[in-house]
């Protein structure tokens, strides 16, 4: 990062009126923010209104953006030849990610939907992994209870599923 670069901040405003200030470059991780700034909006004191995302969720998203922006900036500044350090930093960031996303389902859901709306690919990916991880090894009925989904198969459809994949129901796999 060039030292003489002016520091530009943007403000994100949550659906319940909370404001979060962060470096514009950190906020640019979001495709939605990028689009807004590209059309010349959002730099004013009113900030960028983020609909449908509460302050509680947005604060987490801001933490994620700051962390990943700082890590990327540090990696840029590093000596390119120092491979070992790069690998170590990457590993550190991954561990931070894992801890960051170690949330219960409701919060994870909020962040996933927020990250998706804001277009933060890295965070969407992280949330999807965590969600998938929570589903691993679970039975269909466990998932239904967990996610509040109703079993809406007709009896014919259920018979068809059992016919198509008999092993799905067997205990041996």
């Amino acid at each position: 990062m060039a030292a003489g670069k002016p520091v530009v901040m943007v403000t994100l405003v949550s659906s319940d009126g909370q404001s979060f200030q962060l470096l514009e470059e950190a906020a640019l991780l979001s495709a939605m923010v990028r689009d807004t700034i590209q059309i010349g909006q959002g730099r004013g004191p009113a900030g960028i209104p983020i609909r449908n995302i509460t302050g509680q969720t947005l604060s987490m998203v801001v933490v994620y953006c700051n962390k990943h922006y700082t890590a990327a900036a540090a990696a840029d500044g590093d000596d390119a030849a120092d491979e070992e350090k790069k690998v170590a930093n990457k590993k550190q960031l991954r561990e931070w990610d894992e801890q960051f996303i170690n949330l219960e389902q409701d919060k994870l859901y909020d962040i996933l939907v927020a990250a998706n709306n804001l277009g933060i690919d890295g965070l969407v990916d992280l949330c999807c992994w965590r969600f998938a991880d929570m589903m691993k090894g679970k039975s269909a009925s466990e998932i239904r209870v967990k996610l509040g989904i109703r079993d809406d198969f007709t009896s014919e459809q259920r018979a068809q599923i059992e016919k198509d994949s008999p092993w799905v129901w067997s205990r041996t796999t």
């Binding site: 859901y109 939907v113 998706n116 989904i149 198509d164 796999t173």
Partner: protein, 427 residues
């Protein structure tokens, strides 16, 4: 990963989310991404959650995306079940040896080392064979009859059958079989069967060869619609055994259903590269086993030449010969590597090894068969990965003592179309 077209909450649309529950109705594009990260094994189970999830995971777009994200073939192993003999469990395993799926199959069948949309399973010392769809578990038994001409003078029970399932050069699925009579008259016949909807399945006779082809699974390979065979050295019928090179290859074109001229193998084409004295830098007093195996890697015929020593001090090695031009009969030895026999044990020796499959990243799956000197003990099947870039061999991916045959499956376990259409043609 751009997930912009959101808000069509999938579970919400179909009204399946219970309002009282935590109501985690993931937007459809997000649900797509989440499910993409699960293994085929998990997904097949979670299809039963609700209609939406079921529809999504059967969707061809999803199946294709899932295959891209989870590449890598599955190992297919046959495990005999002695408790309910004769019956075999066919295990589909990922490359770490985790069982993804288990299919119960009647009979003492062997899985052939093919990797098509359907698995060909066959029974040793008989003429029974079936095609099996690994997705549905559906089975289609091949007819246990002789072709009309052969039936005039022989009966099927005279023979041991070996089967070769593949597509001809225009994509038609066919099965070639060799019928070998080792006991009475030393005869070997060939018959072909076409899988199509318009006619019932029937074996048709093909020409015989003047000599026997080898019938064990690693002695043949199907490349671009041509079945290649190693020869056995015996004459077919009452003639004198012909003089021939050990690596001469017979070729059967599945489309014309005729034999092509013999092909000279790599060892006889390059005698200068196979001198055992050049390999051993000091005079060894060893028994040297040479073994050839055929396989198809990315549409190229590969001969794996295994040189083994009956010694615990000298490592055996594998040469991979690629047929770079079949018209001009040009062979190139691309790789030679030690098999790193740290797993040498008392009473075991390395019987044979062959290259089975090439992965998308260029690594090559190597199957090693560890024979045992103890009667009654199973041959171990060890699978390792050779990385040509780093020239290293991985440690064992799978080491299963009770798997008695191993094959591969490259298709998706999620798609019912895969091979299903073919099986529905069968009576």
């Amino acid at each position: 990963m751009a997930l912009r077209n959101q808000h069509s909450s999938l579970c919400g649309e179909t009204g399946t989310a219970l309002p009282a529950a935590v109501s985690v109705a993931l937007p459809s594009d997000v649900l797509f991404e989440v499910l993409l990260r699960l293994t085929a094994k998990d997904l097949c189970r979670l299809r039963a959650v609700c209609r939406t999830w079921s529809a999504l995971t059967f969707d061809p777009t999803f199946v294709a995306a899932h295959a891209t994200r989870h590449p890598g073939p599955l190992l297919v192993g046959g495990v005999l079940d002695f408790q309910s003999f004769p019956s075999v469990d066919i295990l589909l395993m990922d490359l770490s040896g985790n069982v993804v799926k288990r299919i119960r199959h009647a009979g003492t069948h062997l899985v052939l080392p093919t990797h098509h949309d359907l698995l060909c399973v066959t029974e040793a010392y008989s003429c029974k064979a079936s095609l099996l769809n690994p997705v549905t578990g559906a089975v289609c038994a091949l007819p246990e009859t002789l072709s009309r001409i052969h039936a005039r003078r022989r009966v099927l029970s005279d023979f041991d059958g070996s089967f070769y399932y593949g597509r001809d050069s225009s994509g038609v699925c066919k099965v070639l079989r060799s019928l070998t009579d080792y006991n009475q008259r030393l005869e070997q016949f060939f018959e072909v069967l076409t899988l199509n909807a318009s006619s019932p399945m029937q074996w048709w006779e093909a020409d015989s060869l003047p000599m026997f082809v080898r019938t064990e699974p690693t002695s043949s390979a199907i490349v671009k619609g041509v079945v290649y065979f190693l020869l056995d050295g015996r004459a077919n019928g009452p003639n004198d055994p012909p003089e021939l090179e050990i690596d001469l290859l017979a070729r059967f074109d599945l489309k014309t259903e005729e034999w092509l001229p013999f092909l000279r193998g790599p060892v006889s084409c390059h005698p200068e590269l196979s001198e055992i004295d050049d390999i051993l830098n000091e005079p060894y007093v060893l028994v040297v086993d040479e073994h050839l195996a055929l396989s198809e890697l990315n549409d190229v015929l590969v001969v794996a030449q295994h040189t083994g020593f009956r010694s615990t001090t000298r490592d055996s090695f594998l040469d991979l010969w690629y047929l770079v031009d079949s018209e001009k009969c040009l062979w190139e030895r691309k790789y030679r590597f030690d098999l790193e026999l740290s797993i040498h044990e008392d009473g075991c020796y390395f019987a044979k090894a062959h290259a089975s499959l090439i992965l998308d990243d260029g690594r090559i799956l190597i199957c090693i068969y560890v024979g045992s000197n103890f009667p009654g003990q199973y041959t171990r099947r060890v699978v390792r990965l050779y990385d040509p870039e780093t020239q290293t061999l991985s440690s064992d991916l799978v080491d299963v003592r009770n798997v008695h045959s191993i094959g591969f499956y490259k298709g998706s376990l999620l798609s019912l179309q895969n091979g299903g259409r073919l099986l529905s043609l069968c009576p």
